[in-house]
Symmetry: C2
Subunit: 205 residues, 2 copies
């Protein structure tokens, strides 16, 4: 698709760098910006620069934060001896929205993936291990995707923290609430039987 | 979804105003911007404002343009006595990319749609009719979508330009090149039979 204007061409290129956006979708966005009011466009433009200037990564847990230490890490009511290890910011949001977790987090910034060229050194794994050296951490909970990359990363962390006396757990895999057994895959169903829980644990929620 | 940062929240709101973008997709875009280099973000930000400052609508055909009169309208080799009426900029692009049309355009800026509150007065129809008053226009080609809105707009224009002695045609509806007859719908197949063309017209292309 040949575009008639250089500015439109550049804007399409720029929008097309966003994840999952091709040139056609990018052009839709560009035309939307052109057609709608200047206020809306200026607002979006300003916020994009602000994302880069005003946000940083928390020095303790590597979560996205407006301060040097994020709100979760600096909250004294949260249990910093329990660390939930997640892939990225969205997983922190998802777990926070359950309202059931009161510990700290550690954001890896990705998962080990040789295909995409992501090695352990690209991830925040060393800083996790160094947290254990202090001896203040009791439990590490792995909350990673059940994909090849997630499992690989999990095993890598498991090996890395083996020398320390810390409890390592992983979030439960099983049948999603509301799902029907007959449509569940064998692996999930198998794991949910192996890791069955006492029935009265349901009554606490 | 509750977001922890006000800037992220505002940026998500702003991205979610783009067509077809919900809050989850907007958050993906925001995280992409945060994670990738500042150069890329500044570029996108600058181009969004530039779209509003540097682009205008051509005074003659209402197409998006960097000049007051667009490149197509100001091109002396194009036949300004033939006007192709389209819904928006993307249709101009699509027709230009065929390389088979050498006339001028007239961009309506939308289609009549009572449901969306778009009436003829919201569209560039009056300026089309006023072009005919000069008597320099020989043919108007309607290249509108085959939807309820497209057909309504077509009939409205047909009535509006009836007083003028100008040829009015519409692009051919028929079986797409490469399509199989048995999968075509009846309306399309019916129209393609009614509007059959001499076989030797194929040989010219």
């Amino acid at each position: 698709m040949q575009l008639s204007s250089k500015i439109i061409e550049q804007a399409v290129e720029s929008f097309a760098q966003l994840p999952g956006v091709g040139r056609k979708t990018a052009l839709r966005y560009v035309l939307h910006v052109i057609k709608h009011d200047t206020q809306q466009a200026n607002n979006l433009s300003k916020l994009i620069t602000q994302l880069k200037t005003d946000l940083k990564f928390c020095e303790r847990c590597h979560n996205i934060s407006e301060q040097v230490i994020c709100e979760i890490c600096s909250n004294p009511t949260r249990d910093s001896s329990t660390i939930c290890v997640v892939q990225d910011y969205r997983d922190v949001l998802a777990i926070e929205n359950t309202g059931l977790y009161k510990g700290a987090y550690h954001v890896l910034g990705g998962l080990i993936s040789p295909l995409e060229g992501i090695t352990p050194s690209n991830l925040n794994i060393e800083s996790l291990v160094s947290k254990l050296a202090g001896g203040d951490v009791n439990e590490i909970i792995l909350a990673l995707n059940t994909t090849m990359e997630g499992e690989t990363t999990g095993f890598y962390i498991f090996r890395k923290i083996a020398p320390y006396s810390v409890k390592l757990s992983t979030i439960a895999r099983g049948i999603a609430v509301g799902d029907e057994l007959e449509y569940a895959d064998e692996v999930t169903l198998g794991r949910s039987i192996t890791n069955r829980v006492p029935f009265d644990s349901l009554l606490k929620k």
